[in-house]
Point group: C2
Chain length 268, copies 2
Amino acid sequence: MHPFDHAIQLQPLGDGSYQAETSPAYANMVGPFGGVTCAVLLNAALQHPDKLGQPVALTVNFAAPIADGPYTVTARAARTNRSTQHWVIEARQASGVVALATAVFATRRPTWSASEVQAPQGLPAPEDLARMPSEKRPPWVAAYDMRFTEGDVFSGFDGQEQPDSRSCQWLRDDPPRPLDFASLASISDCFFPRIFLRRRRVAPIGTVSITTYFHADEAALAAQGRHYLIGTARGQKFHNGFFDQSGEMWSHDGHLLASTHQTVYFKD
Amino acid sequence: MHPFDHAIQLQPLGDGSYQAETSPAYANMVGPFGGVTCAVLLNAALQHPDKLGQPVALTVNFAAPIADGPYTVTARAARTNRSTQHWVIEARQASGVVALATAVFATRRPTWSASEVQAPQGLPAPEDLARMPSEKRPPWVAAYDMRFTEGDVFSGFDGQEQPDSRSCQWLRDDPPRPLDFASLASISDCFFPRIFLRRRRVAPIGTVSITTYFHADEAALAAQGRHYLIGTARGQKFHNGFFDQSGEMWSHDGHLLASTHQTVYFKD
């Protein structure tokens, strides 16, 4: 079993509740990598017998650090319409609620389609770029193969403030794994905190809320398979303890698979 | 009482539940303008005796059309930490859940701050621009004074597809009203559906999920007062029944007050 599948595994407890367990392979500085928590919460809806269609939107609020070990996830379809479905998903430990999510699922049908944003052009192939080292990083970093063309944060911690926090990278699961909605939800949280890039130094941070919009359908996921994705991200505003950043996850051939936004607590 | 304050009024029913009522002044094609629904849901947390700090993030999922008339809103602080608080807020009518929200509140403290995105420069003053007419539009449109410098959607419905859906406008409540968190949540949903701009024609649409990140604190709201805001927006991807769009709400003097993102159902 791929370590990611192990990390997002759910044991049904009945009534839409599941037992999950943190995975050492995806540990972060404190608690698990947020992307995997997103995937676990989404998975509770994906696995649910009431599920209708595919994910269109997922918002996860990180309410408190998740302690290493088991936790329960409860998914409830709060509203099911003809072609859309609205979920509320909660993760709990003894301390109370540790993560809260809402998700929108939908059955999609073919319509006029177009992309207004465009993938970066003329990138070197991932095979021609060095992989970002994962030594001295939290364990989850080694679970992703990341190759930067811009904004390789850890290479430049000189404390010299920069005017922007843009980054561009190839990335995929390591070992490679076919892309699905759960892994797309997770990898969409792979963008390092933009404050590290702006200030070129680490700072205590924690994402408080992340929203990912899925543009990929089953066909787009299948076409992506185990290829590298392209990830682009930038910050918006840093103000009195919080900043927001936005990113895009592109397929290997330049189709937008997901847009993602988050707001992050920071200390200076 | 300002019509907006009337529209977001809540009667406490005890236990964090409130009675709300749709307002004809903010009616949309079907049900109320989504922005006002955001404001009502946020208001249930703002009014709640357990409230800690100020809103940092708000996600509202529109689960079903809200029928004209009363509805109940229940706000629950699912987790309260030392400086952050996580809310789950539900709106219900006889048909079941009609809207679902999560919100993150926080007490902010002064930190290093910076804006990476920049407000549009050199705009004509709002007084020198024509107000967008609101005749033949849903009632809520007349509740906002909107003056476009780019992307005045209703002026060009010729069905000639455009490569982008950018817009830039001045806007504020009509009659003018001092900006607060509730009205900022509402006005952040004022951006017309990007598909109208891309295809230069109307289409049946409905926002399914909107997320707004608040950068404004009480001081920034006070400094904005009744001035016009600047709103900028664009689309990302339109694909098989859903598209996403992002926008910014700037103060009259160019400070980012909120970033906002939404995914929208559409038919063609």
